[in-house]
Symmetry: C2
Subunit: 333 residues, 2 copies
Amino acid sequence: MGKKMNVAVVGATGAVGVEVLKTLDKRNFPLKGLRLLASARSENRRLLFRDEELPVEVLSADSFQGIDVALFCAGAARSREFAAAAVAAGAVVVDNSSAFRMDPKVPLVVPEVNGEDVRKHQGIIANPNCTTTIMLVAVKPLYDISPIRRIVVSTYQSASGAGAKGMEELWTQTADVLAGKPAKPVTFQHPYAFNLFSHNTTIGENGYNEEEMKMVNETRKIMHDDTIQVCPTCVRVPVLRSHAESIVVEQARKVSVDEALAALSKAPGIKVVDDRAANHFPMPNESNDQYDVLVGRIREDLSCANGLALFVCGDQLLKGAALNAVQIAELLV
Amino acid sequence: MGKKMNVAVVGATGAVGVEVLKTLDKRNFPLKGLRLLASARSENRRLLFRDEELPVEVLSADSFQGIDVALFCAGAARSREFAAAAVAAGAVVVDNSSAFRMDPKVPLVVPEVNGEDVRKHQGIIANPNCTTTIMLVAVKPLYDISPIRRIVVSTYQSASGAGAKGMEELWTQTADVLAGKPAKPVTFQHPYAFNLFSHNTTIGENGYNEEEMKMVNETRKIMHDDTIQVCPTCVRVPVLRSHAESIVVEQARKVSVDEALAALSKAPGIKVVDDRAANHFPMPNESNDQYDVLVGRIREDLSCANGLALFVCGDQLLKGAALNAVQIAELLV
């Protein structure tokens, strides 16, 4: 370590921004200074960080003087507008949005999977889509045993993917429904209380929504393997802040459950939760607020000789966003 | 039609039994008489049927005199204890439990899929597991175009699979959690409010739970095709009474989305809900209380040449149980 850094958090008052601050604190990130940036809506707010009340400054192109690392957590539009200014001011941008993920000049990094790609950056490093990050942490140790040819994945995604207002909507709408009132969707298009629906992103020509195509394309880029075939189905379920994923992989050779368990048990960023006798497997209520991705239900795919099935849960706001961004920043120290 | 029948409903006061009564009424089942049977717990209760208050009688081996069709909806133990008595009394048993499903002498029937198997009965006809029924209604029209070789399915199952007490637990536990109280699991092992968990059935040697193995074995029996490979992952989500399923099929030849859509649109028991522009696909809140299985998100599997992906929703208490049982009884008329 040694070096201390001036860090800016863009979107500091949002659901992910708040988790970035908590994570910087909990992981003792070597901070020289911390600058909180947000839109004019948050002007005059102050946020507590390590017993100190820090002012929230209004984001502008001049916000990045003296900053070493700028963690962008304010959506793709803000990233497109201000990332270049941050880079020009000498900062390295770690961008949590989709704005630059598929740009060939921008590394897309999950530290447990391709941490070494950080070194190739030209000012911007992208943080992958949350479902992709959580899936790849779980399957990378399997890929290292034998290359993965195909992934069929169905997701069970939480409200937090739509930010604090998404979580708020699930919470208050559920209370309304329990009180006999109608569900009033605002942030999400469809009723959410005791319901589920296909992911709320635009559907492309091929019938897949944007979230699903992120899983296809980002997986190949992060794994440096354009031959991996992915069939994703992304679904929003009435859960607050952890994503779950049912994953079936097909590998070049048959990998036994014991081999998989051994590899997953010692892999970074993973906690194996796979107690068949107790019927205890990964669940959102146990992955909430956790850094590790929970991996379980590891079993042979009954339908394919070289297949393995697993079920994973990860905190969407942490490993799916804030934690992964801070881990990338740690690699820059 | 013509013939009218004396019908007994075993477990008439349970979640499925109540739906059987509603379905017999709504579908104008040709009733001569209706006998409601339940355990001693429901003694002296009366249930309304077509403006008439019918007494609930205590189930015994003598309950079936004069009965033509006995619809058993009281769990496998009751079915094992009393089905033989019903058959001996001359009734045909339509059994909603898992007791006889894999018995080679017992047809396992989804009317839209293998209705003709009803004719082979020797006194008992079994109603399949709810997830299997809903899946097979959706994939049978595809199988008829080209045989299905493999199914990878992940389920999003509702509380109603555990009966009225399961639904009640999700409802009251969610209210508790919203009020800041801890989740108190009773019927289900794990917290259910804003959570999800692997299906609450025993896990076998191969790592699959009983619900999953039902999907494997019942699919082959109903489809009369032991070569179909199935890889199921069964998950309970905080939804009240409809199951959803993310299904990926591999077929003998490539079936286009247009071919699939055409076949599904005219198939019995299916309503296609597949509006990509409006992001409107099958959802539990729209399949609740519906007879049809909703089918949508029909798209080519990006990971496999002969693959198709779809997402389906069906009412667990209706097509998953009561409706399918009544439809079987209709085939007996």
